[in-house]
């Protein structure tokens, strides 16, 4: 036994005599860190790196089968899903890994921000981190394109539309992005090159720089209220701390990193196993227009902003906001490189994180069930419920038919079914009188199209008589209220008779 041990040791020494890596690696692993930093709050960066590793491995596995052409990409994904043993699982790992990576990178960034770890001397580590976030999002977007299904095809259109809004060079940018005048083979190939060569290369290089800086500058200490960062004294204070009660990174802190990474990979595996691969949706055939394109999870909030921003502000918002946000993130450590680290002394930072987190969550959840999109098949799919037809006159029932046939249901819900684009119509009669209903139907307005050209006068009469019955059977309809008030005012003295009409 000791012979084998001796032989292994000899082999190890043979390699290390030639590689010389044992010493620097051991030193890096055991470099002292503040005792307070050996915390569960400091595990997100290593988890992001671990997921990146998973993405590389699963990405290479997919590339063994995937056919990277516009013509065959979609079919090869279907083939991986159904014909390759465990192909579905590898695709699921890669897809869920992508969502987890975006999430963990954002959590890591939030933690660093809240702990003030971006302050001196770690400004550049933060700046490189901002680029890592941008590259991660770039991977998520280009990855969605490589799924090359309907969502990917129309998602490229959205990208082109944003480029097309850039003043002066918009057209050139559209052609540059699409690799030609229209979405096709060259478009697909350049996104493949970005996703597989360009962005991963940049990511690897930036991760190396990022990790090197963490090693070189040391892990940021746990912030204490009142302990200010000053350029003149910080390094000495940090060195003194480490000298006093520093602990080696391996194993004192690393066991938490490794445990958390394992838990995250397990979570990705669980999502992959239980929820399966993400897509592909329908084939990338632009002539199949029965589709409701939607971006992947990390970009749902952008999709919501497009719908909710006032149209006049949309282009400036689209083009200026990203630049302002990125510049603000890059400039943050240069502007606030000193001072208080602890969150309890940085109310603006806490407020910013809360507002951004709440806004992004709301926009994302709105994007999942978008109320602004018409439900394209509600007019033929969601029938008018019997309670709205019971005891109604033939004219009113005819009106219900017009209501369905004219696609009103696509934007207006009845009994909770139908589009949410316009207001629910269950109680519309209590809000609008007969003449207001007629005007609204014929002329539209308030973000509703005018139906004057599409409806014949009898259809309008029938539709409005149906709408007038929608008062929830509780409150009097607007018409009745008005008639009542008019008759009351006619009875009261001081009014001429023609006013009461």
């Amino acid at each position: 036994m000791s012979g084998i041990k001796q032989k292994s040791l000899d082999l190890y020494h043979w390699f290390d005599r030639r590689l010389g890596l044992a010493k620097p690696i051991t030193e890096a692993a055991e470099h002292p860190i503040p005792k307070s930093s050996a915390s569960w709050w400091y595990v997100f960066g290593s988890a992001a790196a671990m997921i990146f590793g998973l993405q590389i491995v699963t990405g290479i596995l997919l590339a063994l089968i995937y056919t990277p052409t516009a013509q065959h990409a979609w079919t090869s994904l279907i083939f991986i899903n159904h014909n390759i043993p465990l192909g579905w699982f590898i695709r699921a790992l890669h897809g869920w890994g992508s969502d987890f990576m975006v999430a963990i990178v954002i959590i890591h960034m939030t933690q660093v921000f809240m702990f003030g770890s971006y302050k001196y001397p770690r400004e550049l580590t933060w700046i490189v981190g901002v680029f890592l976030l941008l590259m991660t999002l770039g991977m998520a977007f280009t990855g969605q394109v490589l799924r090359f299904d309907q969502d990917a095809y129309w998602g490229l259109g959205i990208g082109a539309s944003i480029m097309g809004r850039v003043p002066w060079i918009g057209g050139e940018l559209v052609h540059l992005m699409l690799g030609g005048p229209i979405i096709g083979a060259t478009t697909f190939s350049r996104f493949f090159a970005l996703h597989v060569f360009v962005i991963p290369g940049i990511l690897l290089a930036l991760v190396a720089v990022h990790v090197w800086m963490v090693l070189y500058l040391g892990i940021s200490e746990w912030p204490m209220p009142g302990r200010l960062v000053r350029r003149s004294t910080y390094i000495q204070e940090y060195e003194a701390d480490i000298h006093k009660d520093g602990v080696p990174f391996v194993p004192d802190a690393a066991w938490k990193d490794v445990t958390f990474s394992a838990a995250i990979i397990l979570a990705i595996m669980a999502c992959a196993f239980f929820f399966g691969p993400i897509g592909p949706s329908g084939p990338p055939d632009p002539t199949i227009i029965q589709t409701v394109p939607k971006p992947d999870l990390p970009f749902l909030w952008v999709y919501a902003v497009f719908a909710l921003a006032p149209p006049a502000l949309e282009t400036p918002l689209l083009l200026i906001t990203p630049i302002v946000v990125i510049c603000a993130m890059l400039g943050l450590p240069l502007y606030a490189g000193e001072g208080e680290k602890h969150w309890s002394r940085r109310p603006v930072a806490v407020l910013m994180v809360s507002v951004i987190a709440v806004s992004l969550s709301i926009l994302t959840s709105l994007g999942q069930h978008p109320p602004w999109s018409p439900v394209m098949d509600a007019w033929s799919g969601d029938a008018v419920q019997p309670k709205y037809l019971k005891g109604r006159t033939p004219l009113q029932r005819q009106g219900a038919l017009v209501f369905q046939q004219m696609q009103c249901r696509n934007c207006h819900a009845l009994g909770g079914l139908g589009g949410q684009r316009g207001p629910d119509l269950d109680m519309v009669a209590t809000r609008l009188s007969e003449s207001e209903l007629i005007r609204q139907v014929l002329q539209g307005g308030g973000n509703m199209p005018a139906y004057g050209n599409a409806l014949s006068p009898p259809q309008v009469t029938a539709l409005v008589s149906f709408l007038e019955t929608l008062n929830g059977n509780e409150r009097p309809a607007q018409n009745d209220v008005r008639r009542l008030m008019q008759s009351e005012s006619a009875q009261s003295p001081g009014h001429s008779s023609d006013e009461s009409q």
């Binding site: 052409t69 516009a70 013509q71 065959h72 979609w74 095809y153 129309w154 259109g157 959205i158 082109a160 539309s161 097309g164 850039v166 918009g170 057209g171 940018l173 559209v174 052609h175 540059l176 699409l178 030609g180 005048p181 229209i182 979405i183 096709g184 083979a185 060259t186 990338p284 055939d285 632009p286 002539t287 227009i289 589709t291 409701v292 394109p293 497009f306 719908a307 149209p311 949309e314 282009t315 240069l334 502007y335 606030a336 490189g337 000193e338 602004w372 999109s373 018409p374 394209m376 007019w379 046939q405 004219m406 696609q407 009103c408 539209g444 973000n447 199209p449 005018a450 050209n453 599409a454």
Partner: protein, 198 residues
Amino acid sequence: MKKPWKDLFKNPIIENPLDQPSEHSRRKFLFKVAVLLNGAVGAVLAVPVLGYLLGPVFKRNDSYNHWVPVGNLDQFPPGETRLGRYRNPEGTPADGQTRTLPCWVRNIDNTRFQVFAINCAHMECPVHWFPQSKLFMCPCHGGVYYQDGAVAAGPPPRGLYQYKYKVAGNQLMIWAGELPTLSTQASIAKPGSKTCLG
């Protein structure tokens, strides 16, 4: 408030012993020349690389478009709007399914037509035609257009993009080949062309 960036990049100046005049050797000069030469070669190499990368940008915009058939006239009855299909004139088999593109053809009275791009002017999503309500609706952000392509509701900044068209024998032809966006629309509906008759 003190300016935090004032001494941000201030570093102690360390004197480099190699900067001593006595160290300016012939080899150092040759190294500098070699670096310059390398830079020059790199600059020359950058020309074809950038030319290759930016090829799609330098091509004249209108050179992408060609007259392509969208179908026989009898496919588009008067008074109706139907889906037309055309092949990308510059497409290749590698495009796969994306080579065939849809458009909406409105036959007004057999002599006048309107051919609309499928793409919503807002975010390029495919608009659907509803003949009953005579509206185009977009499934993405709720853009709605009237039968003549004018905006009826929602966020679109302009009406539907239109293609130039001509009738050649029994065929309806359109001038197409480029994805219409707010910047690339110019090559689609040129002033004076036979469009926008609604």
